[in-house]
Symmetry: C2
């Protein structure tokens, strides 16, 4: 299989979301042009993205909505559900726990861990908050993804323990650059960074260039 740009994966997620939307409206078929318009990209980009994984369309017709939706779900690994652990039950952690959009695609937060003794034992969204000391034991139960919503200063240490416990994918919300070994997937969401990007644009707004969506 050819090399797949990371940006392609992000777009595939967007395509899938749109396909599921129009499927609910009863649309059977969609052209690359129409899909591109809704996704905010170009027809050529859509076709190139898909061509990296196979051929899904009918010439002269377009793409079958249910077929392409299923294909994308398979490519993205969304046919199965992934076991997710949330580390950090502070304000951000609790917001993520309540974020319904995760559950939609098969990401189920099945455990919550926090270091604060005052929080341990509390029930959040039906889950008992477990102590950080038991992290290794808990992750021994076979988690796929860890969401880190801990303070910046604690993030690297927690990440190290999570990785040592065998978790191979992390979504980090702490504003630090985590070091992880080869073979561990890491995405970081850094909101302060996004704001500073906006600040840059505003400060240089005399040049009047709009910034296109990136996130």
């Amino acid at each position: 299989m050819k090399k797949v740009p990371g940006s392609t994966i992000g777009r595939l997620s967007v395509y899938l979301r749109l396909l599921d939307e129009v499927k609910a409206e009863g649309v059977r078929t969609l052209s690359s042009g129409e899909l591109a318009r809704r996704a905010g990209t170009t027809a050529a980009q859509v076709r190139k993205d898909l061509s990296l994984f196979g051929t899904f369309g009918k010439r002269g017709v377009g793409y079958s909505v249910p077929q392409l939706s299923a294909a994308l779900r398979s490519i993205l690994g969304l046919e199965r559900s992934w076991r997710v652990v949330l580390v950090g039950a502070g304000q951000m952690g609790r917001a993520l726990l309540g974020y319904q959009d995760f559950r939609r695609q098969g990401f189920t937060i099945e455990a919550v861990i926090d270091s604060d003794p005052a929080k341990v034992g509390q029930r959040l969204q039906g889950l008992e908050v477990l102590p950080l000391g038991r992290l290794e034991e808990i992750l021994g139960a076979g988690f796929d993804i860890a969401i880190l919503a801990v303070p910046a200063g604690a993030a690297q240490a927690v990440a190290d323990r999570v990785v040592r416990a065998g978790v191979r994918a992390m979504l980090n919300f702490a504003p630090v650059k985590l070091q992880v070994p080869e073979g561990v997937a890491l995405k970081t969401v850094n909101m302060a960074l996004e704001l500073e990007g906006l600040s840059y644009v505003l400060a240089n707004a005399t040049a009047q260039r709009a910034v296109r969506q990136e996130g």
Copy 2:
């Protein structure tokens, strides 16, 4: 001035954070190599990024930490503080309101707006929640940045009103691709998308390629 890649701006934010860290430790001078090591990039990349904005270093020595820190702060527009309005006081909105990392760099949330009559009038972090109906009136007070933490279905309508009210920068947390006119800066943080990126890596983990940090 030369054209600046968007990715450069993100890295400048990272450099600034690191410089402020080592400044607190009393470090006076840093080489591009050392800065790169901490930022997770290369020395050449650091020098190229900075060279787009001027010459800041001393050959044979490196960069003066306080000088470079000040220069970056100026480039990023962080010398002044920006007036931020939060639209949406749901779980995510409240988490963002408590997120201390925003305040650090001069982003002050000065108003909170929600459509839910049950929330309007409540005090959150010392701010009274204001009704969505008064959005235009409130933004008339001259806000720079709007943070959108509203449901996906409401996001585009809110964005339209925010733009019409004259706000030229938005940070969107709803999982939709917003359409904004030229001249309005938009960043979207889509956490479900990040998780799907991790899912892709996990599902294709036989290929064993680690994904490097992108956010």
